[in-house]
Each structure stands twice: as structure tokens, then as C-alpha cells.
């Protein structure tokens, strides 16, 4: 007996001198109260004393109740032997109570695995329905050993209970040992409504669980009777279905089940975290942590070992880990399959942009393995995307540098063949197929061509064409546009490019031919509409330059037929061209009429002078011819804003694709107006003025226009910051860098991707600023433009306050950059490895780049002390 029972106090003896009835009434209540509290032992002791003293039927009934409660209590505490002994004693002393303790007898028998005693009664042909139900209830709640029931001798071998239990035993065995078919789950021998019904549902729940069909599994679990024996597995299954098993409090056996089936990965998780920490902070711990992690992985998740080894091997490239020690600690080599090469390529790609050539060679390795492993087809979209990706990597290197790097690489690179030593035969077979090196992946044009041949789409052609336009003569670029047109005949973009190309060469008729084709595809496209206007104007201007005003007039009539020629200030430009024609013909009076028309349309004689002079310049008029037909004193009568008039004219010039010049005599007055705090020009006009000023290197004027624009605030701040960057003198490269970064950030927030691209191009030195050699950040990608709101506000505040054009050049500090560049060059020279061992090459290259990046980061931080960032 347990200590708990030993501590039980003996109940008080019945009070002497009282009558039997009164004693029973008072002490019966006490016994019942004890039973209700679960104190079955003292209750039984007291009931025994009462019955000994009184010996009545009522006291016997009380005693029997106490016995039954006590036997139940012993069973609940797992004391089956004691319960059985007490039950036999009761049956022996009080035969009349046999029916009352029948269910206890069944329970004791079940606990002892003695099913014969339990189910034996089912053989009786006239068994009472109540008794059958009671037995079945016991079976439902107590059967945990199907084998015992299946082999129960008390039942005939063909009895449905034995047959059902045997079928269930077989099904449980199958469903927990491997995938099963639906036929194995049908179990026609077992009725859903029978005592073994919950087992059938459990078998199905387990099958769904292993099939990863969690919804069906959950549904089955909900259908299991919570009082049945199979319901004991529900918490464990629910814990395994849930994403966070820790939420369920499980019994020891359930927790063990969850660990064995779901895999206890906590130890592995901890090991992985420690290894991550070692890679990040303490290289000396890497080897022991790798060892520990691989062991944990082999134990908890053996199928993950190969992938983990690959990740560790790639990580180790960036850490100073001895390869042989690493291999020993991993217990083998990382398998160099497609997954490995993709990871390697991504790793090098992420570490350093200037390793594009090496990265492309790694991507090529990936491609070869991926094809061999069936990841994709050679002509599939994945291959096309890969070619395009490699081309874009190469485009990050300036062309001249690429040619040099490529030549060096091709000279020294002999393939990755020797890095396959110790690899499985299937992996080694891949490089064996590609013994002759093919360096196609180092030529952007070839990569673009391959990509567009497999998967012709607009973005790919656009990138290819952009690149060819920068690299080659117009013929090559035109060929790309032609192949684009052939591949995507419904896209008007290549036709527009071919039109512009022809237009630039002066082949206006050819250009018009392309325009007609583009109009057939999409006449409403703004670019097409603009091009129609521009080409007719170009033709009219050419005739005027050829001194053929009558032919020019024909084109002007065609122009007037276009609806877009009547938009904004465009009619003023047509009138200015007609003015030019009259000047050529010597029809001064008619010219005067057209000048008046231009003045009225632009509401400014000053703007009319500018327009007519610019149109005359474009058409090759001599200055004296123009002076003859232009008013001399127009400025003296000018009372309106001169800056406004010039800005309007400049905006029209931009619209008409004719670069207007700001006359020298106007500049001082315009500058004065722009510097005024009450400048009333619109943002559009300020922008046109700034653009015109930048075209003619009038930095101070452009700066003043940007200051006036910034002072307005609002959505155009990004645009004016960009203009500010362009207007700044070259030695102000840090301010320029800040302005471009913040302009890009603001544009990004406004979803103005054209402005973002413009800022990025300028930042990379494609905008003609030509000071890249001073700029350590010039090759960074657009993510380098990310700025916080605080940084944006700080730059905006500084630039708004700086209204004066900077003229004082600071002390030069280029020496530091010079020293650093020299040091970098030396590093590269020292660390430039031979191509004999490509693994070492990549390792060293990455290290060098990481060092360089760290140095650069330090430099950023140092320069941040001077600038805002």
C-alpha cells in the first residue's frame, strides 16, 4: 500500500447508547461524505465497524457501497492485484452482490489482459442486450492490445471481434511502417459502430498523417470517441500536426512518439545556431561546431546532411578554414551537384560585383549540372533566364575592363575538372562531358542572343539593344532591333528605335517608313504621336536648311493636319518655322506678321525673339538675316518676367526636340529673377530653364533654377535635387552623391521609376558627369541609394538653404583615395591567384573583395564625417 493510504486515520467508533437506526443515519452520512471526497479507505473502515455493530441490511448495503468505491479507487490507481483480491473477497462474503460488481470484474479482467472472462459472455446466445452493451463499452474503452483480443480463446475464431481485431492489428502495423494504399484502409471487417470502430478511424487518421493530408487527419481525429482507447493518441497526433509542438503538454509516451515520428530537431537547431554564430564571430570555433552540427544532423535529420555539407562548404569559402580540416569535420566532401554550384554562384555574386566573370563561370557549372540532373531543359525558360542573368552580371563591368578581365580569364582558366576529385561518378560525369572550355558565357552579346532566341521578350531585347547601342555602331544595334521586330512583330518599340536610328543618320524617309509601320501597330502610343510630329518638323527644318521654303511649307501643312501639332505652344513653333521661310524668301513683311503671331501665341515678344532665333539657327539662317526681321528694342518694352518667357520658350524647344540657347544678354536678368525669393515660375518652366542652362554649361544658372524649384517643395523636389546634382561643380562630388541618392529615394517613394533610373545612371557615371574616378561608390547598385527619412530631410534642408552657387573649392584630399587605390591594386596584384586551382582563386578573390568592401565601408564611414552620410 502506498504511504498515502498508510497515513489514513482510523474513523471514530460508533457512539454507544444510541439506537441502530439513529447510528446508521448519522454515520451513513459521514461514510457517504468520505466516499464523495475520495477517502475510500477510511470510509470502508467506518462502514465495516457500523455493519459489525448493527448487522442490518441497511448497514450491509452501506458496506457494499464502500467496497465498490474502494475497488474502483484501487483500479484507478493501477493496483489491479489488490482490487482483484478485494473483489473476490466481496463476491465470496456477499454472493448477492455479484451483479452489482460485474462491471468491476470486467475491468479487473481487462487490466490483466484476461479477455476470456470479459467476452466469454458474448458466446451465450441469449445474452441480455444491456450486458452486451456493457461489454462492448468496455471493449471500446479498454482495448489497447489488439493481439490479445485477436487471439482470445473464449471467442470462436470466426467471431467478428477476433477477425476485426486481427485486421486492425495488421492495418496498424502497415500504416505505421510505410505508405499504404486506400484498399488497406477500407477494413470491411470492422464496423464503424462496433466497439472497435474508433480503431478503424485511428488507422485512417495515421494514414492521412503520413500522407501529409493534415486536414483529413484532423477530421478523423475529431471523429474518434473521446472515451475510447484510441483517443489516447489524439493529443500526440494533434501535436505533430501543429507547427509548434511545444504548445501541447504530452505524456511521456506521447512525447517519445512525437520525437520519433516528427524528429526531435531541437538539438540540431541549437547546433545550427551555434555554427552560424561561429561563422559570424569566431572562426576558431567553426571546425568543432561543424563536427557537432553534422553529428546532430545525422542523428535527427539524416536526409539533410548532404545539403548542410554544401551550405557549410560554401560558407567556409568566406572564412579562413583549412579545407582538409573542414572536410574531415564534415565527415566527407560536399557533393558538387547543381544545388552546390547554384549556391556557390549566388555566394560569389553576393560577395562582390566585380567577380562577374568568375560568377558566370560558376553559373555555367550550375547550368551543366542542372541539365544533367533534369532541373530544366536546354531550351527552357530557366536556361533563358540564366543567360540573361549572366549577361546582366557582365554588364556591371565597364566594357574596356571586361575585355581585359575576359582575356586574362580565358588565358588562365582550365575548368573545374580537378575540383571533382572524390565526387560521386554521376557528378564527375558532367565535367567529363565538357572537357573543351566554351567561354560563351563571357560575352554579353552572345548571352543576350541565346536568351532572346529561347524566350523572346521585351525586357530582354531592351537590355540587349541598350547594351549594343553603348558598345557598337548603329548597324549592330539596328540588327538587334530588327531581330526584336521579327521575334515580336506586334511590339512597336523596335520600330521606334529603328526610326530614331534612321532619323539620327538623317535618313528621314526611311525613318518615316518605320513610323508608318509603328502607326499601324499603335497610332495612339504617345511615343508614336511624338515621333510623327518630330519627323515632320525634322523634314521641314531640313528643307529650310536646303533653302527650299516651298517644300518646307508642304511639310508644315502636313504638320497642321496632326492634332498633336495644335497642343500647348506648338503652333508658335510652326509660326516660327514659317517666319524662317519668309526670311529665306526675303518676304520681310510676311515675316513680321509671323513674328507677331508667335508673340501673341506666347504672350511675350522676348519669348518670340528666342523662338524665332532658335528656329532660324536650326534652319541655318545667318545672324544678319535674322536681325533684319527681328525687333531690336523688344527687351526694352518687356515688362513681364523675362525668365518666364525664356522658360516657356525653352520648354517648347524641349518639346520640339530643338535645343534652344539662352541668349547671353538675357542671362543676368534671368539669374536675378531666379534668385528672387518671390520667383513665380512654374516647376515645368524652371526645369526647362535648368535643362537649357545645363546644355550650355551654365551651371550657376541651372543651380539658381534648382534652388527656385527646391524652394517650392512638394512632389517635384526629387526632380530639382537631380538638377541640383547636375548643376554642382565637379569637385562637389559628395554633395552630388547625396543629392542623387536622396533624389532616387524620393522618386522611389513616388513610384517614379524613370527618375530613379536617371539618378542611378548619373550615379554610375552614365550621365556624362565624367568624374567616376573620384567616386568610390560609382559602381554600387541601386540599393546603395536607400536613405532613411531623416537622411532625406537633412539633405533637403541643406540643399534648400544653399541658394548660392558654390565657388570655393575645398582643400584637395584626393591623395587618400590615391593611396587607397594603390593599396587595392597592390592587394589585387598580390592576391591574384593562378588559375590552376579555381577553388583557391575564388576563395582568394572573394576574400580580396570582402577586404576591399570593408575598406570601402570604412571609407564611407570616414567620409560620412564630412558629408551628411
Amino acid at each position: 500500500m502506498s504511504g498515502k493510504h498508510k497515513q489514513t486515520k482510523t474513523p471514530p467508533a460508533p457512539v454507544g447508547g444510541m439506537t441502530g437506526a439513529s447510528v446508521l443515519t448519522s454515520q451513513e452520512e459521514e461514510v457517504r461524505a468520505m466516499l464523495a471526497r475520495g477517502s475510500t479507505k477510511p470510509a470502508l473502515e467506518l462502514a465495516k465497524k457500523i455493519h459489525k455493530q448493527l448487522g442490518t441490511q441497511a448497514s450491509e448495503a452501506l458496506l457494499l457501497d464502500a467496497y465498490v468505491a474502494r475497488i474502483r479507487s484501487l483500479l484507478e490507481h493501477g493496483l489491479t492485484v489488490e482490487a482483484k483480491a478485494l473483489l473476490e473477497l466481496v463476491r465470496e462474503r456477499y454472493p448477492s452482490v455479484k451483479d452489482k460488481v460485474a462491471d468491476l470484474g470486467v475491468k479487473v479482467a481487462v487490466r490483466q489482459g484476461n479477455w476470456d472472462e470479459v467476452v466469454g459472455a458474448l458466446n451465450a446466445p441469449a445474452i441480455a442486450e444491456e450486458k452486451r452493451a456493457a461489454i462492448e463499452r468496455v471493449l471500446k474503452c479498454q482495448v489497447t492490445d489488439l493481439s490479445a483480443l485477436a487471439e482470445c480463446a473464449a471467442l470462436a475464431p470466426q467471431h467478428p471481434l477476433r477477425v476485426g481485431a486481427a485486421a486492425l492489428r495488421k492495418a496498424i502495423e502497415a500504416v505505421t511502417s510505410g505508405p499504404v494504399t486506400d484498399d488497406a484502409l477500407r477494413l470491411p471487417e470492422v464496423s464503424h459502430r462496433g466497439p472497435l470502430g474508433p480503431w478503424k478511424t485511428l488507422v485512417r487518421a495515421i494514414a492521412h498523417f503520413y500522407r501529409q493530408d493534415d486536414v483529413a487527419c484532423e477530421r478523423c481525429l475529431q471523429n474518434i470517441d473521446p472515451d475510447s482507447a484510441p483517443a489516447r493518441l489524439v493529443p500526440a497526433l494533434q501535436a505533430m500536426l501543429a507547427r509548434k509542438p511545444g504548445e501541447h503538454r504530452l505524456s511521456t509516451a506521447s512525447a517519445s512518439l512525437v520525437g520519433q515520428v516528427g524528429g526531435s530537431t531541437e538539438g540540431l537547431r541549437n547546433a545550427l545556431r551555434s555554427l552560424d554564430a561561429a561563422f559570424a564571430t569566431d572562426a576558431s570555433k567553426i571546425i568543432p561546431e561543424v563536427q557537432r552540427t553534422i553529428s546532430a544532423c545525422r542523428a535527427a535529420c539524416p536526409e539533410l546532411v548532404e545539403r548542410l555539407q554544401q551550405h557549410i562548404a560554401i560558407r567556409a569559402v568566406n572564412s579562413e578554414v583549412c579545407p582538409s580540416r573542414l572536410q574531415a569535420s564534415m565527415g566527407g566532401l560536399a557533393i558538387q551537384n547543381a544545388y552546390f554550384w547554384r549556391l556557390f554562384a549566388r555566394s560569389v555574386e553576393g560577395a562582390a560585383g566585380s567577380l562577374a566573370v568568375e560568377t558566370c563561370s560558376l553559373w555555367e557549372q550550375f547550368r551543366q549540372h542542372a541539365l544533367a540532373e533534369g532541373w530544366f531543359r536546354e531550351d527552357g525558360p530557366e536556361a533563358a533566364a540564366l543567360y540573361l542573368h549572366m549577361a546582366e552580371l557582365l554588364l556591371e563591368i565597364p566594357s574596356e575592363e571586361l575585355i581585359e578581365i575576359r582575356a586574362e580569364f580565358m588565358k588562365g582558366f582550365s575548368g573545374y575538372g580537378h575540383s571533382y576529385e572524390g565526387q560521386p561518378p554521376a557528378v564527375c560525369a558532367v565535367p567529363a562531358k565538357h572537357r573543351t572550355p566554351d567561354f560563351y558565357y563571357l560575352f554579353p552579346e552572345g548571352l543576350f542572343e541565346r536568351s532572346c532566341a529561347i524566350d523572346p521578350h521585351r525586357e530582354a531585347f531592351e537590355r540587349w539593344l541598350d547594351w549594343e547601342r553603348q558598345q557598337s555602331d548603329w548597324k549592330t544595334a539596328d540588327r538587334v532591333a530588327e531581330s526584336w521586330h521579327r521575334a515580336l512583330p506586334n511590339d512597336s518599340q523596335p520600330l521606334l528605335y529603328l526610326m530614331e536610328s534612321a532619323e539620327e543618320r538623317g535618313a528621314l524617309n526611311k525613318a518615316l517608313g518605320f513610323l508608318e509601320q509603328a502607326e499601324k501597330l499603335d497610332a495612339l502610343k504617345p511615343e508614336v504621336r511624338r515621333a510623327a510630329l518630330r519627323l515632320l518638323i525634322a523634314q521641314a527644318v531640313r528643307y529650310l536648311r536646303q533653302r527650299k521654303p516651298r517644300r518646307a511649307e508642304e511639310k508644315l501643312v502636313d504638320l497642321e493636319a496632326l492634332p498633336q501639332a495644335h497642343e500647348t505652344d506648338r503652333p508658335a513653333f510652326l509660326a516660327a518655322l514659317r517666319w524662317t521661310g519668309c526670311v529665306i524668301l526675303g518676304e520681310d513683311k510676311a515675316a513680321s506678321g509671323y513674328f507677331t503671331q508667335v508673340s501673341q501665341l506666347l504672350e511675350s515678344p522676348a519669348a518670340a525673339v528666342l523662338i524665332c532665333r532658335s528656329a532660324g539657327n536650326a534652319c541655318g539662317l545667318e545672324p544678319n538675316e535674322m536681325d533684319r526681321c527681328l525687333p531690336r528694342k523688344v527687351l526694352l518694352d518687356q515688362t513681364d518676367s523675362l525668365a518666364g518667357a525664356v522658360a516657356r520658350a525653352c520648354a517648347l524647344g524641349d518639346d520640339m526636340n530643338v535645343a534652344f540657347t539662352i541668349p547671353r544678354e538675357f542671362q543676368r536678368e534671368i539669374f536675378k529673377e531666379l534668385s528672387d525669393d518671390h520667383c513665380s515660375l512654374e516647376a515645368r518652366q524652371l526645369r526647362a530653364l535648368a535643362e537649357a542652362a545645363l546644355r550650355h554649361s551654365l551651371g550657376e544658372l541651372a543651380y539658381a533654377a534648382s534652388a527656385a524649384g527646391l524652394a517650392r517643395g512638394g512632389a517635384t523636389e526629387a526632380r530639382f535635387l537631380l538638377l541640383r546634382a547636375r548643376a554642382l561643380p565637379s569637385w562637389e562630388f559628395e554633395r552630388r552623391s547625396d543629392c542623387l541618392a536622396v533624389a532616387a529615394e524620393l522618386a522611389r517613394r513616388q513610384r517614379d521609376m524613370a527618375l530613379v533610373d536617371e539618378a542611378v545612371d548619373l550615379r554610375r557615371g552614365h550621365g556624362g558627369l565624367g568624374i567616376d574616378f573620384l567616386d568610390p561608390l560609382a559602381t554600387m547598385d541601386e540599393h546603395a541609394f536607400s536613405r532613411t527619412t531623416e537622411q532625406v530631410n537633412a539633405v533637403l534642408k541643406r540643399e534648400k538653404q544653399s541658394r548660392t552657387f558654390p565657388v570655393q573649392e575645398p582643400e584637395p584630399f584626393y591623395d587618400r583615395f590615391g593611396e587607397e587605390d594603390e593599396a587595392d591594386e597592390k592587394d589585387e596584384e598580390d592576391e591574384l591567384p593562378t588559375f590552376g586551382d579555381i577553388a583557391r582563386l575564388l576563395l582568394e578573390s572573394v576574400k580580396a573583395k570582402v577586404k576591399k568592401k570593408r575598406g570601402q565601408k570604412h571609407q564611407d564611414e570616414t567620409s560620412g564625417q564630412r558629408s551628411l552620410f
Binding site: S251, T252, S254, C301, R346, S347, A385
Partner: protein, 106 residues
């Protein structure tokens, strides 16, 4: 190029595994698998699973996006522990022993 949306699928996860299709599965197979999975995980009953399935399908339905995901989903810098979640969902067959031990425990 790498601006594509990732949704609720982690970078290292294979959308094919989520839909339960083979690496070389064609468009029709992918669509059939998607419809089957959505039927099993309707948005009202399993919203999280549904989102994952939908995002996986969004990646796989567009061949170009599928290709980009294939190339760029590998992240060598991701914490090593992130390799685990997809793996732990695998369920091991243990035989009936541990299962029946739970029933006999009481």
C-alpha cells in the same frame, strides 16, 4: 531582376514541394496540383496554408518567374537553421511500437 515578390514562401522553400509536383511538371500538372491543394486547404478553413499554396502557384504559373525563382531562391547567407522547417515536416515511419505504447501508458 530580383525584385519579384516572395509572398509568404521563404526564399529557400521550393514552391514545387509546396504544391507536391515533380521538378519537371508541366503547366497542366501544376494547375491540377494547385486546384487539388486549394480544395484540401480552402481559405476559410486553412488561410495560412491557402496563402502558401497560392503564392507557390503564382511563382510556378509564370514560366519566367518560375525560372527566376529557380535561379535566385538559393541564399548562401541565410541562417543554417532556416534549412530545417521544410525538412521537419517529413514524418518518419516507426512501426506500431511507439504508437501502441501511448495507449498502454495509462
Amino acid at each position: 531582376m530580383n525584385r519579384h515578390r516572395q509572398g509568404v514562401i521563404a526564399a529557400h522553400e521550393d514552391p514545387r514541394e509546396i504544391l507536391g509536383v515533380a521538378p519537371n511538371a508541366g503547366d497542366e500538372e501544376i494547375r491540377a496540383a494547385y486546384l487539388r491543394k486549394v480544395k484540401e486547404n480552402p481559405p476559410d478553413r486553412a488561410p495560412a496554408a491557402f496563402e502558401r499554396i497560392r503564392d507557390a502557384y503564382e511563382i510556378l504559373r509564370d514560366p519566367r518567374r518560375r525560372a527566376l525563382h529557380l535561379l535566385l531562391s538559393a541564399d548562401p547567407e541565410a541562417p543554417l537553421v532556416s534549412l530545417l522547417p521544410a525538412r521537419t515536416r517529413e514524418r518518419r515511419f516507426t512501426g506500431p511500437g511507439p504508437w501502441l505504447a501511448v495507449m498502454r501508458e495509462k
